[in-house]
Amino acid sequence: MSILLIAEHDHQALNPATAKTLTAAAKMGDNIDVLVAGENCQAVADEAAKLSGVSKVLVADNAAYGHQLAENVAALVAELGKDYGHIVAPATTTGKNFMPRVAALLDVAQISDIIAVESADTFKRPIYAGNAIATVQSEDAIKVVTVRATAFDAAEQGGNAEISAVDTVIENTKSRFVGEQLAESERPELTSAEIVISGGRGMQNGENFKLLEDVADKLGAAVGASRAAVDAGFVPNDMQVGQTGKIVAPQLYIAVGISGAIQHLAGMKDSKVIVAINKDEEAPIFQVADYGLVADLFDVLPKLNEKL
């Protein structure tokens, strides 16, 4: 049976999570078709066609898919997906939004946020904020799966898949896009950055995040935050790392003024190297840190900036 992979994109470029999800999909079977649903999204389809291991790219290019409304996208995917063995998407907020609808329309369960593929029907996924790893087996005819992209390497370039248009237009009248406020940043995207530096409540206010940003810019790093820093209004929600925010697994994660609550650890403990900077030597973050520096962050950050 073939696999339908739903591409994540912003209508202009493919999100890096797609190539990583493709690697996961390739472990479930072969014959992988990629669906690009969007508006004026031909460039995304061209990019997807170049990924190694893609058989065919389906493009549903219509205003109905312009804002990825779950009602429209899910109905399209359920319609196209009923002849596939697997329907796979990255576990981003877009994937999390429409995929359970797809599963329910097809009357099958969804396996969320997998971190390993054991076989075509058996997967590993974290539960309880990553404090346990469940191995689950799906008996459904169609397996609807979302993938934690950071757990897989990106598929290689070098493919040359055929691209074909899909004319199915599904437009519901019950939901409508009103507007969006997207964070603009010159820095790398949090979930795909090689280095992430995050600040917590210890940063005290939003202005002080400038200290982190200076270091981030020297390192080419992305900037993240704990929930406490977001709740306090220091930084916007899209910077939250954790169980209920973004999951990151960079080469280097630097936690500054973050205590290390289990919900925060759930989002970063698969980073290759972890550095913790905290003035409290008892802070739980030190239990997972490869390098801990017990010191005042307001002393450390300017020095670090100088040294780099």
Partner: protein, 249 residues
């Protein structure tokens, strides 16, 4: 307007679970249980809609064994008007939970259904969306702001890139994110009052839903443990280690 809120009994968020030695599941014996934090936010939002005169009734529903009545009482103490307990032997998976909730929606005919975006045990993040598909209702997931006006609801959603706002025709589904509100604490008088609020029990047979799962749990393991590394004395040593030992700079 009637608001239906689905609430789930889960492990308390402060508790770090342990895996059973035979790796069959996590060990929940004698562990503190609580209302799922996202469901608490859902109840709070519904109660605020009532307090501001937008809603006139808040019905809370929970699915699971008898013990979930404890969380229903908590939800009533936070301001729910009445509760429905749909009794099942164990916690159903998300699709079954959504099918059961669909049955409750058909009985109750709410204008708005509020759920948590995810439960902190299985971290699935599915039930609300599935209920949306099954009832053909539009959805506003991961909500950080909800405003109801003239037969529709405007929902601001926390998405990876920032915030997105959608407008949904009622009846609609909303799932809550952390910053939607800060739930109140139940006061002692309200806890006492909640004991006398109506709590009905329904069976899955009455709702015509078969409880079965197509997902088998084969094994539960502890995650790979990280061990604590070393403490460095100062910034110089840190930069040196990152460059020459870890080789990440």
């Amino acid at each position: 307007m009637k608001v239906l809120v689905a609430v789930k009994r889960v492990i308390d968020y402060n508790v770090k679970v342990r895996v059973k030695p035979d790796q069959s599941d996590v060990d929940l014996a004698n562990v503190k249980m609580a209302l799922n934090p996202f469901c608490e936010i859902a109840v709070e939002e519904a109660v605020r809609l009532k307090e501001s005169g937008v809603a006139d009734e808040v019905v809370v529903v929970s699915i699971g064994p008898k013990a979930v009545q404890e969380q229903l009482r908590t939800a009533l103490a936070l301001g729910g008007d009445r509760a429905i307990h749909v009794e099942t032997e164990s916690m159903p998976d998300s699709l079954v939970a959504a099918k059961i909730l669909k049955g409750v929606v058909e009985k109750e005919q709410p204008d708005l259904v509020i759920l948590g975006k995810q439960s902190i045990d299985s971290d699935n993040n599915q039930t609300g969306q599935m209920l949306g598909a099954l009832t053909d209702m539009p959805q506003g997931t991961f909500a950080s702001k909800v405003s109801v006006e003239d037969g529709s609801v405007e929902v601001t959603r926390e998405i990876d890139g920032g915030l997105q706002t959608v407008k949904l025709q009622l009846p609609a589904i909303v799932t809550t994110d952390l910053r939607l509100n800060e739930p109140r604490y139940a006061s002692l008088p309200n806890i006492m009052k909640a004991k006398r609020k109506p709590l009905d029990t329904l069976s899955t047979d009455e709702l015509g839903v078969e409880v079965k799962s197509t997902v088998k749990l084969l094994k539960v393991e502890p995650p790979a443990e990280r061990s604590a590394g070393v403490k460095v004395a100062d910034v110089d040593e840190l930069v040196d280690k990152l460059k020459n030992e870890a080789k990440v700079l």
